[in-house]
């Protein structure tokens, strides 16, 4: 594997995970939704995008899955985002209405395991534990070979990541973003002041999950396969750590968090010069390090590396102040 190829591959993961992190930041950083099932929404996006792009499953292909529409990537990607959004509407609509934060966490946590069970065991859906493979490389108009394609795919990946970053910034610096943050700070008071806390929270969750779905759809473009092993509960955790380390309520922080956790820790540990017998120790070691980093950050620097930004308003004191009666 050449260095360029390796770097480009890393870049693709970076783009995909940045989108994932931005979505979680919108849900939890701004609206305080404890979505412990977040990675399942990424998976749904990936699966739907895959079965939109693949042809119908046949006895020959050896896989069974629903749909199989052989549609172009753009449509499939949007479908992935929509699917994740719809699942968020369903789940959020049920449990965000009157539950307190930790019970919302339980409900979503349970959802991720139930989905994992069902997707893994019910093969007609997405080919069960073996997963869906053989997704054709999206947008491959020029019939590039593997290395060239990885470099090429950086362009749509980067564009999507930049677009979604811009959207996240707009959402944050708006009356909507302000209302979300008030909701996060003190829900009871926000409700007293007329904020429809359910609708605000649900919209944030749906938007964040659409981000996850789009990230999944984008990433299956170069992963070309998706199986339950890729989205176990531990994977949710890595994104959570990235968002918290980077800085909650802060889109730049999410980008930095992805850089630190996934690129440095994730890839960095892979490059450790370990003898072959010990290679299998790397995944659990990585898990331990990520868990420890998360707990440490939550204790010593809970605001993350880049704390939330604050708009400074340019107000000038008026000459005739009505202050003193």
């Amino acid at each position: 594997m050449t260095l360029v190829y390796y770097a480009a591959n890393l870049g693709l993961f970076f783009c995909g995970y940045v989108i994932l992190a931005l979505g979680l930041n919108i849900q939890f950083g701004y609206a305080g939704v404890l979505n412990f099932a977040y990675i399942a929404f990424w998976a749904i996006g990936a699966y739907i995008t895959a079965v939109f792009m693949l042809g119908p499953s046949t006895a020959f292909s050896g896989e069974t899955y629903i749909l199989g529409l052989r549609l172009p990537f753009i449509v499939a990607l949007l479908a992935g985002g929509v699917a994740a959004g719809l699942l968020a509407v369903a789940m959020g609509g049920l449990i965000l209405r009157r539950l307190r934060g930790d019970f919302i966490g339980i409900g979503l946590f349970a959802l991720s395991f139930a989905l994992y069970d069902v997707v893994g065991n019910y093969t007609p859906l997405f080919n069960g534990w073996a997963g869906v493979i053989g997704v054709p490389p999206p947008l491959n108009f020029f019939n590039l070979n593997a290395e060239q394609y990885i470099l090429y795919y950086l362009i749509p990946s980067g564009l999507l990541a930049v677009l979604l970053y811009w959207v996240a910034q707009r959402l944050s610096r708006s009356p909507y973003g302000r209302a979300l943050r008030a909701l996060r700070e003190d829900e009871t008071v926000a409700a007293t002041f007329g904020k429809n806390t359910f609708r605000l929270r649900l919209s944030a969750m749906v938007i964040g999950c659409i981000y996850a779905g789009l990230a999944g759809g984008l990433m299956i473009g170069f992963l070309s396969a998706m199986a339950p092993a890729s989205w176990s509960a531990a994977e949710t955790f890595i994104i959570w750590t990235a968002v918290i380390v980077g800085g909650l309520g802060n889109n730049r922080g999410s980008v930095l968090g992805v850089l630190v956790i996934i690129i440095l820790l994730g890839e960095g540990t892979r490059l450790l010069p370990l003898p072959l017998e010990m290679q299998s120790l790397v995944p659990p070691l990585r898990g331990i390090i990520i868990g420890a980093v998360l707990i440490a950050i939550l204790y010593w620097r809970p605001k993350g590396l880049i704390p939330e930004e604050r708009t400074k308003y340019h107000l000038v004191a008026s000459q005739n102040s009505a202050a003193n009666p």
């Binding site: 909507y176 007293t192 007329g194 904020k195 308003y313």
Partner: protein
């Protein structure tokens, strides 16, 4: 919606928490344009009354009428939108927002609080904020928080947080503001300041209902006082009338003074 008369009426309010009765048939009225106090010993049900009337606790039994409308089954967010506001015993500012944002967020146009507006109606949002910021500036100067306008609300002192809470109530141009022990933990200089602010705002047409323990404050600014005990209204009137009322004296006033 009668222009004079009572802005808030409460009829036979009963409320219980897990078997403990906090309100046992409370009936009272608040006159429009007044500064009315609610006093009474601990456990009289004052905070429960405020919670039920402001929608924080669901109505269990009885009727509550605000501005002539029955608000018994209003959801929490309706109260503020219709002009009924309350504060809490401990200041509950939005800590992670700046002082200005604390005011903007409660007064901003609710119609713009959605993702589509965030993406496509930036200009309209800017215009709305610009016009709001005029009032924000005026209010911050009035309460004396202008210098602290860009600080995080959680960084303010206790007294400043109390002032912020008042400013936040006033920025939405309410009809009735219910204050739950606004002077608790506030130093004497600030007490006077808060009293003055309430009187100024009252002169502009805002009705105040204040739950308060400090009788000197009640005496100074409240024209009408309601005494509660055992979950019910015991008596009501001016402080002078109440002092002459033997039931009130024995229940509450006599010991203190």
């Amino acid at each position: 919606m009668n222009p004079s008369g009572d802005i808030l009426t409460v009829t036979d309010l009963k409320h219980a928490y897990g078997g403990v009765e906090a309100l046992s048939g409370c009936t009272l009225a608040v006159k429009r344009g007044s500064i009315t106090a609610v006093i009474g010993p601990n456990g009289a049900g004052k905070t429960t009354l405020v919670n039920v009337v402001s929608g924080v606790e669901p109505l269990q039994h009885g009727e509550v009428s605000f501005d002539g409308i029955d608000i018994g089954n209003w959801p929490a967010y309706m109260f503020a939108r219709r002009g009924l506001l309350r504060s809490f015993q401990l200041p509950r500012e939005f800590g992670g927002l700046s002082v200005v944002d604390n005011l903007l967020v409660v007064a901003q146009d609710v119609g713009l609080e959605n993702p589509f507006s965030a993406l496509f109606q930036r200009a309209a949002a800017r215009r709305m904020e610009a016009s709001l910021l005029d009032r924000v500036r005026g209010l911050l100067q009035e309460v004396g928080l202008f210098e602290a306008r860009n600080q995080y609300a959680r960084e303010l002192s206790g007294g400043q947080k109390r002032l912020l809470e008042l400013a936040r109530a006033m920025i939405v141009e309410p009809k009735l503001v219910i204050l739950d022990e606004p002077m608790a933990g506030v130093n004497p200089v600030l007490i006077e300041r808060v009293g003055q602010l309430i009187q100024v705002w009252n002169s502009r047409g805002v009705t105040f209902l204040i739950v308060e323990h400090k009788l000197e404050v009640v005496e100074a600014i409240c024209g009408y006082v309601i005494v509660m005990a055992n979950g019910m209204r015991l008596a009501a009137g001016t402080m002078r009338e109440l002092r002459a009322n033997p039931a009130v004296v024995s229940a509450y006033l006599g010991v203190a003074r």
